[in-house]
């Protein structure tokens, strides 16, 4: 893509972020909360699509989601660190580091084996977490209220402030990711997806691509976990359970790997379906969620992102 297009991207993204921050003032508090949670889930989904670009799908992102959540939680309760922005950033770095350590192990596997090994990691973590009573065991623990640059907001603004922080941080991360996707290593990932062996013959390492992508996915997942924990004010081992991981995979499949904003749209859709069916059909929300998953996979198999791409391609053509 040309430089002009990237200037446009930066401009549009900042405009969108400002717009969302303003919209947050107008919409009711529960919706602000739902969007914040959607951003948290979207961040993890973004990690999975980063992997998906290289042909891998992790069925155990609950692993990094949980690590991020517990990092933020333990820093809050044990070290007294309550600044939301700092917590998110530290969780991002720490979980990314954990990702970098286990990535070489995972990067040797493909397809269903990659999915299953990542699932195994998340379930081992789950098994350990529910046994450690010092951090609440299966009940988890409550996070201290977060602060913003040293100020503790009153409860009516706390949700909104977290929302603003989430939008700003996620916005810039999304822009950086777009640059990464279109950079050389990012494009090699797409080639690996098409045919790994040929990429190796041409002199690039599919292994390195997988390690890099998994590390990025881990960092994003950790930040998502921290954000989700801070938003809920509570953390428990359910973060790492396989059903949670399944939701992340769903978000990324619904979004497709072509577009970054589509991931957040997919996450928002999932959150909305979940909160509405949880509210109006409390006994059958899983049924509705399941049917929603099946129908969306049948009718939009290549994801919402493919609509976005078609739309922009058409726009470009008409400009010419």
């Amino acid at each position: 893509m040309s430089e002009k297009l990237y200037n446009n991207l930066l401009f549009q993204s900042i405009f969108l972020m400002l717009f969302l921050i303003l919209v947050g003032l107008l919409i009711p508090n529960w919706l602000v909360f739902v969007i914040t949670k959607a951003i948290a889930y979207g961040l993890v989904g973004l990690g999975i699509i980063t992997l998906m670009r290289g042909g891998l799908v992790s069925f155990g992102q609950g692993f990094v989601f949980g690590i991020g959540g517990y990092t933020a939680g333990l820093l809050g309760t044990q070290a007294g660190l309550t600044d939301a922005m700092l917590l998110l950033f530290v969780s991002f770095l720490f979980t990314g580091l954990v990702g970098l350590i286990i990535a070489p192990l995972l990067a040797r596997y493909r397809d269903i084996f990659f999915a299953m090994l990542s699932l195994a990691f998340s379930m081992v973590l789950y098994g350990i977490l529910i046994k450690i009573d010092a951090i609440g065991g299966s009940d988890g623990f409550v996070l201290p209220e977060s602060t913003y640059f040293g100020i503790k907001p009153s409860s009516e603004y706390a949700d909104y402030l977290l929302y603003v922080v989430a939008i700003i941080m996620t916005g810039f991360i999304s822009i950086l990711l777009r640059y990464y996707y279109d950079s050389t290593p990012g494009l090699i990932a797409l080639a690996v997806r098409e045919n790994e062996l040929r990429v190796e013959y041409l002199g690039s390492s599919a292994f390195n691509v997988a390690v890099l992508n998994f590390t990025i996915a881990a960092g994003l997942g950790g930040m998502g976990g921290a954000l989700n924990g801070i938003a809920l004010g509570h953390i428990d081992p359910e973060f790492t359970y396989w059903t949670t991981s399944g939701e992340f995979v769903f978000i990324s499949i619904l979004a497709g790997y072509l577009s970054v904003p589509a991931v957040f749209l997919a996450a928002l859709l999932l959150e909305l379906v979940r909160s509405f069916s949880g509210r109006y059909f409390p006994d059958t929300w899983q049924l509705i969620l399941g049917l929603f998953l099946i129908l969306s996979i049948i009718f939009i198999p290549s994801g919402i992102g493919s609509f976005f791409k078609q739309f922009f391609d058409r726009l470009k053509k008409s400009n010419k």
Partner: protein, 299 residues
């Protein structure tokens, strides 16, 4: 000491045989259809629920006690007959040939649906059917007492495994299934009706899941959430043994069954994650499982 070892071995064998019946269906479905079916756990739960419903009806009709096994078989069969056309014909068929992970996600969605279907049909209350468990009395091993029914589960598991192995390797229809496993396209060209094979294979898988549920129902309280643990446990077994391999499922079930029984008696803290640990360890050292042959790579 001897008693302790015997307890661990017997407990492990009972647990392993239960696991094996569930995992056998899972691994067979994966072998033929290349689908890792998360909803397998849901079918298992349906089997348990249908037994919990049918057995009391059976007793109220005044049937002879010994025939209760028949009622359990019928309930498992009923679940498989209802669920197979809906899942295989209705939903999964649309996704054949697509990405394996996408299909896993579809079965995850079906699993979610089945969870609530159980709640809608049977409500939130626990059901109990302990009567069949008393049928076979108790057996004595030195100073240990074991319920005969539990030990009979081992026999059932061995029977299921041998039967499936025999059908696959020694009968004509079984060989056709093996051919489809090996290469669906060529088998199709040779005149095999692949859709029919897929349907039959899925039916057998679903029946085995429901059967495990039916025969577990007398041991547990049948309630919401019994399927969630089964999914990962049976996954662990087939991963350890190698996806699609029947001998692998035997070994996988034995490893996990024994490891778990040993943990229950010796190291109860580790009981929950020992199987995930086995699964992760196996994947790290032998990612394709114990019984997975070499595969050609396409360039």
């Amino acid at each position: 000491m001897v008693d302790e070892i015997l307890t661990i071995v017997l407990d492990g064998a009972i647990y392993a045989s239960w696991l094996f019946i569930v995992a056998l269906g899972l691994t067979f479905v994966f072998g033929v259809l290349k689908i890792l079916n998360i909803a397998h756990g849901g079918i298992y739960a349906l089997g348990a629920y249908s037994t919990a419903t049918l057995v009391p009806i059976f007793y109220s009709l005044g049937m002879p006690e010994q025939l209760v096994i028949l009622a359990m078989l019928i309930s498992a069969l009923a679940v498989a007959i209802v669920i197979t056309p809906i899942m295989e014909r209705g939903i999964l068929r649309r996704f054949y040939g697509q990405d394996e992970v996408l299909i896993v996600l579809v079965t995850y969605a079906i699993y979610l649906v089945l969870e609530d279907v159980q709640k809608l049909i049977w409500g939130m209350n626990s059901l109990y059917v302990s009567e069949p468990r008393e049928l076979l009395g108790a057996l004595e091993f030195g100073s240990l007492y074991y319920v005969g029914y539990d030990l009979a589960l081992i026999g059932l598991a061995i029977f299921c495994g041998l039967f499936l192995w025999f059908v696959l390797n020694k009968t004509q229809s079984g060989k056709i299934v093996l051919a489809v496993i090996h290469n669906p396209e060529i088998s199709g060209c040779m005149g095999v009706n692949i859709n029919k094979v897929y349907l039959a294979a899925f039916f057998i898988g679903a029946f085995l899941a429901a059967l495990a549920g039916s025969f577990t129902a007398p041991l547990i309280s049948v309630q919401v959430g019994i399927s969630v643990a089964v999914v990962i446990e049976s996954f662990a077994v087939v991963i350890i043994g190698g996806l699609g391999s029947i001998p692998g499922a035997v070994i996988g079930a034995l490893i996990i069954g024994m490891a778990r029984a040993a943990c229950v008696h010796k190291l109860p803290e580790a009981e929950i994650f020992i199987m995930y640990f086995c699964m992760a360890g196996m994947l790290i050292f032998k990612p394709k499982g114990l019984f997975q042959g070499a595969q050609a790579r396409k360039i």
